[in-house]
């Protein structure tokens, strides 16, 4: 029934994004940098925030601010209702079965650490295997390495092909009796590849393994349905989805959360405390020790409303068009190599330029108002795999324009000129 309503809702949405109107919602976009209009193409690092999100934070602090789940007074009730309403928005956004499957955390990093320390330490034995991929962000590598160190489990790594696609063959070979968990990014932050997570999940389930999907680079760009994917865990960060920093989400299947021990201890997560014995609340509160980022959750709810109103179809199409335009234009630049050329990509364009270090490309672009990320993108193994010390990365969001892509391309030519 929610899907029918959802479909009607999406039919009412415009198919084409009105970029000029959308841009008017983002105050930070309207400024100059080094005397040039800002061209913000570092969206994979973090997105700018629409006034709807900024106003939701402002409204909360001005009128509803109180602690949650502990007061009988009016403000506390309002704050609690708004916080829980945000949880329900996240549930609907991911199409989770129940809001009890939605845990608010600090971000993707904390979500992954939570699963590693709570589920992982309880369930992993020496010689069990955790499978990750060569293209993961450090936050989907290091927590598993730590866990393996603690439990004696082994880390296995699925390699990536030259174009940025994971090796399906090696994945199938690596999965086996010992595999307990697969942790994989829905979309790669360094390469832009959209991984075939639905298929990878069903293969993992065939050998009895669970799957954690790192959705940090996915949720702002494509529609995610955790029930359709059948993933066991899904994580994302609010700040990459036009929401505030400091808030993120762990989705986990209810049966798993029910069995998992707390990640941190403190207030807000307990039923009863005495010095002999403490009993814990049911999920999700069991995993939300201490005062949560209430404003952040409410801001995230506003961000979800914002992208929902535009529709992931329209957003995805717009970003794909920008990616195609940019890819075609920069492919013509002599000496430029695109790192990550998978057929299925989000709006991420990593590249290296012969004779010009990524850092210098970044500085020269910045001087022209164009903000890109340069460096290893918290994915050092990816840099090693492609034999480059660093790349420059442009990443597109719903508010970017064709003219901004032109500015990027002109900026790269300028970098070539300087170092010519």
């Amino acid at each position: 029934m929610t899907t029918a309503a959802g479909r009607m809702h999406s039919a009412a949405r415009a198919d084409v994004l009105d970029v000029e109107r959308v841009r008017a919602d983002f105050p930070a976009l309207h400024q100059t940098v080094h005397g040039q209009p800002l061209v913000y193409l570092d969206n994979a690092a973090t997105t700018q925030k629409p006034r709807q999100v900024i106003e939701a934070l402002d409204r909360y602090y001005r009128s509803d601010n109180a602690n949650v789940h502990r007061g009988v007074h009016a403000l506390s009730e309002r704050a609690t209702a708004a916080y829980e309403a945000a949880r329900e928005k996240v549930r609907e956004f991911l199409n989770a079965q129940s809001a009890q499957e939605i845990v608010f955390v600090r971000g993707t990093t904390e979500a992954i650490n939570l699963v590693a320390q709570s589920w992982g330490r309880t369930n992993l034995r020496p010689d069990d295997e955790v499978v990750i991929t060569e293209t993961e962000h450090h936050s989907n590598i290091v927590p598993w390495q730590m866990l393996c160190g603690q439990t004696g489990a082994q880390l296995r790594v699925v390699p990536v092909e030259d174009n940025g696609v994971l090796s399906a063959e090696r994945y199938a070979q690596i999965l086996g009796r010992r595999t307990r968990l697969v942790a994989v990014a829905h979309c790669s932050n360094a390469l832009g590849t959209i991984n075939p997570v639905k298929r990878m999940i069903s293969q993992a389930h065939e050998v009895g393994a669970l799957v954690m999907v790192d959705g940090a680079q996915a949720v702002a760009h494509l529609s995610v349905d955790v029930r359709d994917l059948d993933c066991d865990f899904y994580a994302f960060s609010g700040h990459k989805l036009y929401g505030p920093t400091g808030i993120g989400v762990l989705y986990a299947k209810r049966a798993l959360l029910q069995e998992m021990p707390p990640y941190q201890g403190g207030g807000e997560m307990v039923k009863h405390v005495s010095f002999d014995r403490t009993s814990y609340l049911d999920p999700p509160l069991r995993f939300e020790a201490g005062t949560p980022d209430i404003a952040g959750a409410i801001g995230l709810g506003a961000a979800i409303d914002y992208v929902d109103a535009l529709g992931s179809e329209a957003i995805g199409r717009h970003e794909r068009e920008l990616l195609m335009q940019a890819t075609a234009a920069i492919s013509r630049i002599p000496g430029l190599r695109i790192i990550g050329t998978a057929p299925e990509k989000t709006g991420i364009l990593s590249f290296v330029l012969d004779g010009v270090h990524a850092h210098d490309v970044g500085t020269i672009l910045d001087m022209q108002g164009v903000a890109v990320r340069v460096g290893h993108h918290c994915a050092m193994p990816v840099m090693q795999r492609y034999g480059v010390p660093a790349t420059a990365r442009a990443s597109f969001a719903l508010y970017n324009t064709r003219e901004e892509v032109d500015a990027l391309v002109a900026g790269i030519y300028r970098a070539k000129e300087v170092f010519g």
Binding site: D360, T363, I364, M367, G375, P389, V418
Partner: protein, 148 residues
């Protein structure tokens, strides 16, 4: 090139980036070596030198980095060759002062080309990487020094 860009990418910097001096070179009989790494951007250099009676008689560097770090390393090797340990330390101090606007007269001559970097806080670590590595080599520290 706009004036702003030229203040960072001075002709001297571009030249030393294009043709780094004493690059991919380790002096024969090098007796002081250190490895420098900037984890933020992946710039990585090894500085090797031969120290005889307190004088740097030969020096070279290997590795990879951006134009700023490469040019700074190249300039450094050129200038430090023939200097005493004390003179090299003093140069380090003056370059450091120049880049962090902590004052001091700053170095003279070609090293002045690095002055523009001060306006780019994100790039200061690039310019100081080789110098920190040199310091480590002179102290004969083993292993890797890091800018973080």
């Amino acid at each position: 090139m706009t004036a702003d860009l030229r203040s960072l990418y001075e002709e001297v910097i571009l030249d030393h980036n294009r043709n780094p001096r004493n690059f991919q070179y380790a002096p024969p009989g090098a007796n002081h070596v250190a490895h420098g790494y900037n984890p933020l951007c992946g710039d990585e250099f090894t500085v090797s030198l031969r120290l005889e009676n307190g004088v740097v008689t030969d020096i070279g560097f290997e590795g990879a980095g951006c134009a700023i770090s490469t040019a700074s390393a190249s300039l450094m090797t050129e200038i430090v060759k023939g200097k005493t340990v004390e003179e090299a330390r003093a140069l380090f101090e003056s370059v450091h002062g120049l880049l962090t606007s902590e004052g001091g007269a700053g170095p003279t001559g070609k090293l002045q080309a690095l002055a523009g970097v001060r306006e780019y806080p994100a790039r200061v670590k690039c310019a100081t990487l080789a110098w920190h590595t040199l310091q480590a080599a002179l102290r004969k520290e083993q292993g890797t020094i890091s800018t973080e």
